[in-house]
């Protein structure tokens, strides 16, 4: 009786996630979010029909990690750039990947009007409540009393305004089709986020409007925590203010 060794592959790096070192800090959620996008695009086999738009912020180099055509936008303008691409290539899949400063501060106008026009694109919004690349300044989504280098005594909402729940805001617009808030800090959440990203791509073919996936994430370096601590802190504080789940889902009759 012969005995055969069988190797079963349980995990494989997906092809569109390039085999290169990322510049992200240890424990940062960007790496996982990138991988999910690459997996969805590869599983749908749509690399040849996909154009990404990178923001200004920590994920400015997204195109160094995702092996697909990319346009790097000016700060806040990613959804306008994506609009330009999608309008001349309406049969392609177009997505933007933006942080909270990019999408909800300097680019608020573009975000709202892109969603209000119902551009058939997917906007992926990473919300970690802080400016990562510039070194920990206050973001539009920084929580009340949360410390940053520009709110060193904590965000005083009386002086500095309130965290902007832009996802709830754009869900109100008739141009949006699918709006959801997810996270990537636990395996279950990673699976849900992947499903949400997949829907965001699939729905583009329906020409029904903008899909918007917020991913609440962490920033261990600028929150000054270990990765594990940052995930716990996120669970307790960020998710209390930014609750996870679908905010707007397609009408079941249409979907």
């Amino acid at each position: 009786m012969s005995f055969e060794m069988v190797e079963t592959k349980v995990f494989e790096k997906t092809k569109s996630l390039l085999d290169t070192e990322m510049h992200y800090c240890p424990g940062c959620g960007h790496g996982t979010a990138h991988r999910l996008i690459a997996e969805v695009i590869d599983e749908m086999d749509i690399v040849e029909d996909t154009i990404g738009v990178a923001p200004v912020g920590c994920s400015v180099f997204a195109y160094n990690y995702l092996g697909m055509d990319f346009s790097q936008a000016a700060h806040g303008r990613a959804s306008a750039v994506a609009t330009g691409i999608k309008r001349v290539l309406p049969d392609k899949y177009v997505f933007s990947y933006q942080g909270d400063g990019d999408l909800a501060a300097i680019g608020t106008g573009e975000t709202i009007h892109t969603c209000n026009r119902g551009e058939n694109i997917l906007i992926i919004f990473i919300n970690n409540g802080i400016y990562g690349m510039t070194g920990g300044q206050m973001a539009p989504t920084t929580l009340p009393n949360m410390k940053s280098t520009t709110s060193p005594f904590g965000r005083d909402t009386k002086d500095m305004g309130y965290p902007l729940k832009i996802t709830e805001l754009i869900a109100e617009l008739p141009g949006t089709y699918y709006v959801t808030r997810q996270s990537v800090h636990k395996p279950l959440n990673v699976r849900r986020t992947k499903k949400a990203i997949q829907k965001g791509f699939e729905y583009q073919k329906l020409n029904k409007g903008t899909c918007f996936v917020e991913i609440v994430s962490n920033c261990p370096s600028n929150w000054k925590m270990t990765p594990v601590e940052s995930n716990d802190w996120m669970d307790e504080h960020m998710l209390a203010y930014y609750p996870l789940g679908d905010i707007k889902v397609p009408n079941p009759k249409e979907a």
């Binding site: 055509d69 936008a73 000016a74 750039v81 309008r87």
Partner: protein, 354 residues
């Protein structure tokens, strides 16, 4: 086909005929007819995408995205709106994207006036955005050239992968003249090798970016851009000389003002004063040597502009101090008359300045 048409409408009609793929713009006086004309005509005739953006900031970034796909893309605005576009223009120049931007200038600074002016020369030619970059800049002087230069602009934009600006003004945008249009061209279906259209298996990903974080790479990009601009200077200078052969005095002027100056030169000649007009058509590249070539014969230059004196700096650079250069300008939306230009010239001569 000959039509009587406003300058702004001629721009729009020419863009339809040249087979432009997309226009992104925001209304502003005195050029809103461009978007209005396109909204009526373009979609049905050629399928050109025509989108009213929420701002000039958005429209120039839509241009950035669409131009990155290798399509023929353009926008237009007037001075304050063009100021809002400067960041985007800098990105477009750095990422080497072909596109057309039209500035139908109005008087400034600030919100200014809706009347015509030429006070964006510095912003346009010397770089209104950040970084070392150049646009190719064409200054039409007639409604006919508004049409012709749209076609030329796209040819130059794709030849050099560089943004081109048509620098005109509210008077030319609003006035009606006869214009003969070139025949309708098909929209291109060619896929350019550098464009972001989706990555097939057999090539690397295309990335449109202006970010090169390592200084040696960023310097390399700059050296490449400067070499390209030099090539443009060597090959694409355009200018017009009117009655310059025997002239004792030359008036330098660009755009519509050059036509007013031509009338002034004719009036001068009726009085026995031999005056010619030199009109730079390409403001970048600027015809430095061509202006210089007249200095051995002429007694002086009067530069006339609808601003406080901007192109005059390039005219002075051209002549290297060999002949005197004086200035006559009107600001705030006032168009100078032929009589006042002639009077200014005569006064400078009588005062021993020219």
């Amino acid at each position: 086909m000959i039509k009587l048409m406003k300058g702004n409408e001629a721009l729009a009609e020419a863009a339809i005929r040249v087979g432009a793929d997309a226009y992104f713009g925001y209304p502003i006086t005195p050029q809103s007819e461009v978007l209005e004309y396109l909204a009526r005509e373009a979609g049905e005739r050629t399928g050109m995408v025509v989108l009213q953006a929420e701002s000039e900031v958005a429209s120039i970034n839509m241009v950035y995205g669409a131009a990155g796909t290798g399509k023929k893309v353009w926008t237009s605005s007037s001075s304050p709106g063009i100021s809002l576009m400067q960041e985007g223009i800098s990105y477009i120049a750095s990422a080497e994207l072909p596109c057309l931007i039209v500035n139908v200038q109005r008087g400034g600074p600030g919100l200014g006036t809706i009347q015509p002016a030429q006070s964006d020369y510095f912003q346009t030619v010397k770089g209104g955005g950040h970084g070392d970059y150049k646009m190719i800049v064409l200054a039409p002087a007639s409604v006919q050239e508004m049409s012709d230069f749209v076609k030329l602009s796209f040819e130059l934009a794709f030849k050099y992968r560089n943004p081109v600006m048509i620098l005109t003004d509210g008077a030319l945008g609003q006035m009606m003249e006869k214009v003969e249009f070139f025949p309708q061209q098909e929209r291109s279906t060619e896929i350019l090798e550098w464009s972001t259209v989706g990555k097939p298996d057999d090539r690397d990903a295309n990335v449109i970016t202006s970010l090169h974080i390592k200084p040696d790479k960023m310097e390399e990009i700059n050296i490449h851009l400067q070499a390209k601009y030099k090539l443009i200077e060597e090959n694409e200078i355009l200018y017009e000389e009117i009655m310059c052969e025997d002239a004792d005095y030359i008036i330098t002027a660009f755009g519509l003002v050059a036509r007013i100056c031509t009338k002034a030169a004719e009036l001068a000649r009726e009085k026995g004063l031999k005056v010619g007009v030199f009109r730079p058509i390409s403001l970048f590249p600027f015809p430095y040597e061509q202006i210089m070539s007249h200095t051995s014969r002429i007694k002086g230059i009067l530069d006339v502009e609808m601003n406080a004196g901007q192109m005059i700096e390039d005219v002075k650079l051209s002549v290297e101090g060999k002949v005197p250069v004086e200035f006559h300008g009107r600001m705030g939306g006032i168009v100078p008359s032929p009589d006042e230009i002639l009077e200014a010239l005569e006064n400078y001569i009588a005062g021993g300045k020219l």
